[in-house]
């Protein structure tokens, strides 16, 4: 246990010594504070701690819509775009050199000549590297948690699911970087390969998402699109799905199946956090009472879209990818002559 704590503490020291860590943390806190500056009054929404007020009849203090909007900004914008994309890229840039530096001759020798198994050393070092993201997201979530509690009197611990999910998402990319580092000992190469794999998986996930919307969500919402002219028509009722589109979607989904679901895993947060007992994928539950039939139809279709992949599929297939990649890296590390 002492050895494990030593490596984790060293990982923290390493991160703390990196300027990028503090820059990202500063930006994270700044964004979280801007989020926390949003509040709700009897007249509508206040921003920058009451400096400006936007009048709105629906989104007012104490309303379900205010709570939904506040949480949606967190789950649909801040988490996927700042924490789940930009901050993650910065984290990857910062963390990528950890393994190549560790594996350099003269450095690795000291660590592996100690009475600790190579397997433990490798895994703890890997987990230690994930601290970068875990700390950043934790700080962000603490501010968001306090903001929700103070603004809405909703002390929602489910917000902290973001820490687990985003650290998991980061680990899915970082494991590729580690494997490349074990093979090449090059920081630059491990960063480029990780970014490349991430880019490929994101493209496939976005393609799958767009294909699903075109194949299932649009017909279910009563919308049809002319592929030649791009003209959209609203039928007002549920339409049949195209078998051709279904076939094409099936191919895209099959291609993406063995790859890590970074985007889907990030959006799992929408299933994990709730507002008044309903999770963020239950779109129809957050509609106004006066919502039209077509709005209801669209909300239902979006619910299906949000729930098209089970948690087991997203986590299971991603975890299988990570275990496979990390398993190879670990196998090489354990058997390698340094």
């Amino acid at each position: 246990m002492r050895q494990v704590m030593t490596i984790l503490w060293d990982s923290y020291r390493l991160l703390a010594a990196k300027k990028l860590f503090w820059i990202v943390l500063f930006l994270t806190v700044l964004i979280a504070m801007m989020y926390a500056s949003v509040g709700f009054t009897a007249q509508g929404v206040s921003v920058l701690f009451g400096a400006y007020e936007l009048k709105n009849d629906l989104i007012v203090e104490g309303s379900m819509f205010a709570e939904y909007l506040y949480m949606m900004i967190f789950t649909d914008y801040l988490v996927p775009w700042w924490l789940g994309l930009f901050a993650l890229v910065l984290a990857l840039i910062s963390v990528c050199p950890i393994f190549p530096d560790f594996l350099k001759t003269g450095s690795i020798d000291v660590a592996i000549s100690k009475p600790m198994s190579r397997l433990s050393l490798f895994l703890v070092k890997y987990l230690g590297s994930l601290l970068f993201v875990a700390i950043q997201v934790l700080v962000f979530c603490v501010i968001v948690f306090i903001a929700h509690g103070v603004r809405l009197n909703a002390w929602n611990l489910e917000i902290f699911w973001a820490v687990l999910l985003l650290t998991f998402v980061f680990s899915l990319i970082y494991c590729v970087s580690v494997l490349t580092a074990v093979l090449t000992r090059s920081s630059l190469f491990s960063l480029l390969v990780a970014l490349l794999v991430w880019g490929v998986t994101l493209s496939i996930q976005w393609s799958e998402s767009i294909m699903y919307k075109a194949t299932y969500v649009m017909p279910a919402s009563g919308l049809s699109i002319n592929m030649k002219t791009g003209e959209t028509k609203e039928a007002g009722e549920e339409l049949d799905t195209s078998s051709e589109m279904e076939k094409f979607y099936g191919i895209v989904r099959a291609i993406g199946m063995p790859l890590p679901k970074t985007r889907d895993a990030t959006y799992l947060l929408r299933k994990k956090v709730t507002v008044r007992g309903k999770n963020m994928t239950m779109s129809s539950a957050f509609l106004e009472d006066e919502a039209s039939a077509s709005e209801l139809l669209e909300a239902k279709a979006m619910e299906d879209y949000d729930n098209r992949h089970s948690v087991a599929y997203i986590v299971g297939s991603s975890l299988a990818f990570e275990v496979f990649i990390l398993g190879i890296a670990c196998f090489i590390f354990v058997r390698k002559d340094f």
Binding site: Q3, L14, A16, V110, K114
Partner: protein, 323 residues
């Protein structure tokens, strides 16, 4: 005879690609002394140390270290190691590096803190323990490297080229530290190509070449066959006496009479005879081969990376008996 702390036989290492770094190394290292492993670049010295410290997996290895099989992880808690070209995290301070290595060895935080203070003082870095490694000179880094190798009170300390990049003053201090380690009862195993330094401190050595041990023993044992006495005279030695001296085993070349062997007794009647003939004795010296000569003889001039055999013989270390 002292106990043996390392006893290995037929250690082989063939790297992927076919390079055979070790070709059946057998070695015994006695407890509580300074053991030097010499060899030209590429002889396999570092590979051998890395096998003993589990950094490199041997192709074949039979033997024990501190009573356990080579590769036993638990045994490494009793071993210290300073690698060649050691790199320590630049973001850590000197004292933190020692505590970090202590932690990897499983030493409690409180003990590590106490030990770090003692070791910093021992290596003369007590005023620099709170400075980051990035600000240290090469010599200072080596001192911290030595300190971290001792943090677990090891029974064996492996030092791979410990004086590499260290200035002459630092080398002298390093030698004193090594002698202190020996006095503390530790076994110090040094890999080095600085033969002069090893000769000053090593109790026993092994010479390695092309993945094999070519010579092994104490320096006295290895240089025994080359030991001789040299008498330098002035004036003419009568022919009759010359014949007598040659018959007694002496070799005469000009004004120098050589007697091969380590026993000074056969010299005594020769001295008497020379004095009786009124031959002036200028000098009597005990001569033995230097470690460098022994090394060159063992590996051959071509075996030493970048080193060439000198055209003039080096100054032999000698013990003057009469002058």
């Amino acid at each position: 005879m002292s106990d043996i702390v390392i006893d290995i036989a037929d250690v082989r290492k063939k790297y992927r690609g076919g390079v055979e770094a070790l070709r059946g190394v057998s070695l015994q290292v006695p407890q509580g002394g300074i053991f030097g492993l010499l060899g030209p670049n590429g002889a396999g010295k570092s590979t051998l140390v890395k096998i003993l410290t589990s950094i490199v997996r041997p192709t074949r290895c039979a033997g024990i270290m501190l009573g356990a099989a080579i590769g036993d992880k638990a045994t490494l808690a009793r071993v210290g190691y300073l690698p060649e070209h050691a790199r320590f995290p630049e973001y850590l301070k000197g004292g933190e590096v020692i505590r970090y290595v202590a932690g990897l060895t499983g030493i409690s935080s409180a003990d590590a803190r106490q030990k770090a203070g003692q070791l910093l003082e021992m290596v003369g870095m007590q005023d620099w323990g709170n400075h980051k490694m990035g600000t240290y000179s090469k010599g200072m880094k080596q001192r911290i490297g030595l300190a971290q190798a001792l943090v677990n009170d090891p029974e064996i300390v492996f030092l791979d080229e410990p004086t590499d990049g260290v200035d002459p003053k630092g080398r002298l201090e390093m030698r004193n530290l090594l002698q202190r380690m020996r006095d503390d009862g530790r076994t110090v195993f040094i890999n080095s190509h600085l033969l002069g330094e090893l000769e000053m401190i090593c109790d026993s050595v092994a010479i390695m070449d092309k993945g094999e041990i070519v010579q092994q023993g104490t320096i006295a044992e290895l240089t025994e066959k080359s030991r001789r006495y040299e008498l330098k005279t002035r004036g003419t030695i009568p022919e009759e006496l010359k014949h007598k001296l040659i018959a007694a085993g002496a070799e005469i070349g000009g004004e120098v009479i050589s007697v091969v062997g380590s026993d000074p007794e056969p010299i005594q009647p020769m001295l008497d005879a020379l004095r009786a003939e009124k031959v002036t004795i200028v000098e009597l010296r005990e001569i033995r081969q230097s470690l460098e000569e022994l090394f060159m003889e063992s590996v051959g001039a071509g075996g030493v990376g970048g080193t060439q055999k000198r055209s003039t013989p080096p100054q032999l270390p000698g013990k003057e008996l009469v002058k």
